[in-house]
Symmetry: C2
Subunit: 315 residues, 2 copies
């Protein structure tokens, strides 16, 4: 029975990853969470939920020591993108510390485990050549301290691979969304507004920033299927983009929402909502990952958005 | 009068940089130090020494606000290379926080200042192609948390250039040494042992790790001259290696020491002193910097080592 440890297991992606892993009954799943919530206790055996703070090395050590995992999906990270001095420095310090603690504990107590380090397509940031999707050799030009912290986490994982031969795989997921993602992200935020308008709880006006921004959206179910494939097939010490390779503007997202909703919505473009340091285009060249693993996205953007709308209609 | 602010001004490189800047009397020099020492008070006007902790944003802000610098040489960083959980995470957190605080304060209160971010040739780490010197496009493969923290500092500086148009130049100095460097570094450590043996204070045996390790050593006086040239001539948003382009083995260093010393020394090679994650070869291709600025090293390695020996003979 392979023992699979997920850090940040209580989050949006973590819970979807647990569901994916449960499709193979031989997986023995352990969930590391900051605090145990009712969500997680319905998904994982009570005795396999370990609550604690990964910025504390002693907790990370006892976690790895007690679980003795064969595979670690390291998802835990602070993901605040807002820029204030105290938030930015705590995101950078926490994310570096969490990754260091997990890597060091893995080196000492589970040195043969495969360690899947979850980075982000955000590390590419201000891409210079926007005429084609970005591959893994594209220079990193991060645009906020959160993206910088993901570079730090990658570099640490790479360091443990180079210095100690740890079996590390680094993944750079591009945008992914689905039921359960917080409304800090664009698709859930817009979908929630549409449903509020359907329910007559909101005026039929939606204010957005730059609707020309282009992103590569993957359904979270496809994304976590990719993570599991990575744990089985990717090459140690290597970095892989995961994304569909297809870009969509925010305007297109709004069109899909309109086609799936009875709400008659007026869209207002407000300059003050345009973020100064936003990347205009971010689309993945994930051919390295696709060619190696055979991964292809299966859920259409239309279906993803439909699922999210439905989830808000039911609440 | 250009106002020049140096962070980490009390350190080995900081004090040499102050001496270099004082050669141009128009420079108005401000020294940010963690604690004011007698060394720094002999170099800089008392009223231009500002003591405080740059991991505290409020201090960084008041520093930049009060000095209103035209040029900032950001040298301040923890440089512990030993690997323990508490040290590694505090080096990474502190170095990220110090750089963030300085960049954020500069953006807000000295947005036209030129910001010279001092990184390190250590970011290259486990270079794959060791047949030629490394240029700035060589992939980063850091081998310890300190080197990871320098990547983080670079990425933050780049982010402030990309997001806010801050006038940032990133320098990657390779090894540099000279009078005043601590004996944590190889040349001062060996030179000190030779002088101890000359003075009959030590048995004539020196224990070393891998004497085949190759490094690119620049005299600190040449290095800080490079920093000043960078502040005058380098292109905003760009990254530059600084180094001689010539590699020397530790065995060659020992031969130079032998030729400059009356001590008859036996060299013992101890496996336990070989660091597992040491880089075998690290030599700079600094042609980008040299071609732009005209910088060339002027002090020979022989003269550098001779100066260091002399400094120990006098103490």
């Amino acid at each position: 029975m392979p023992k699979v440890l997920i850090t940040g297991a209580g989050g949006f992606v973590g819970t979807h990853l647990i569901n994916e892993l449960k499709k193979s009954p031989e997986n023995e799943i352990y969930a590391s969470v900051y605090k145990a919530t009712s969500d997680i206790t319905t998904l994982v055996d009570q005795t396999h939920i370990i609550a604690g703070d990964l910025t504390d090395y002693a907790f990370a050590e006892s976690l790895v020591k007690s679980v003795q995992p064969d595979v670690i999906f390291h998802l835990a990270a602070l993901s605040v993108v807002h820029n204030s001095a105290s938030l930015a420095t705590s995101v950078m310090s926490s994310n570096a510390t969490i990754s260091y603690n997990m890597l060091e504990a893995t080196k000492l107590y589970a040195s043969r485990a495969r360690f899947i380090a979850i980075s982000s397509g955000n590390v590419y940031g201000a891409v210079e050549d926007t005429t084609r999707p970005v591959d893994e050799l594209t220079p990193l030009r991060p645009l906020n301290p959160y993206a910088v912290s993901k570079v730090t986490q990658e570099m640490l994982a790479l360091q443990y691979s180079l210095s100690y031969g740890l079996d590390v795989v680094i993944l750079r997921p591009f945008n992914h969304t689905g039921v359960g993602q917080t409304r800090d992200f664009v698709i859930p935020r817009l979908a929630h507004q549409f449903v509020q308008i359907e329910k007559k709880l909101l005026d039929p006006v939606i204010e957005v920033g730059n609707i020309e921004t282009i992103r590569d959206f993957t359904d979270v179910a496809d994304m976590v299927r990719g993570y599991v494939l990575a744990s089985q097939k990717c090459i140690s010490g290597e970095i892989y983009n995961i994304g569909t390779g297809v870009g969509h503007t925010i305007a297109e997202i709004i069109e899909i929402l309109k086609s799936l909703s009875s709400a008659k919505v007026e869209v207002k473009i407000l300059d003050k909502l345009v973020r100064a340091s936003d990347v205009p285009i971010l689309v993945a060249d994930a051919s390295k990952f696709m060619d190696l693993t055979g991964w292809k996205p299966q859920v259409s953007l239309q279906d993803t958005i439909s699922d999210i709308l439905e989830s808000y209609r039911l609440t």
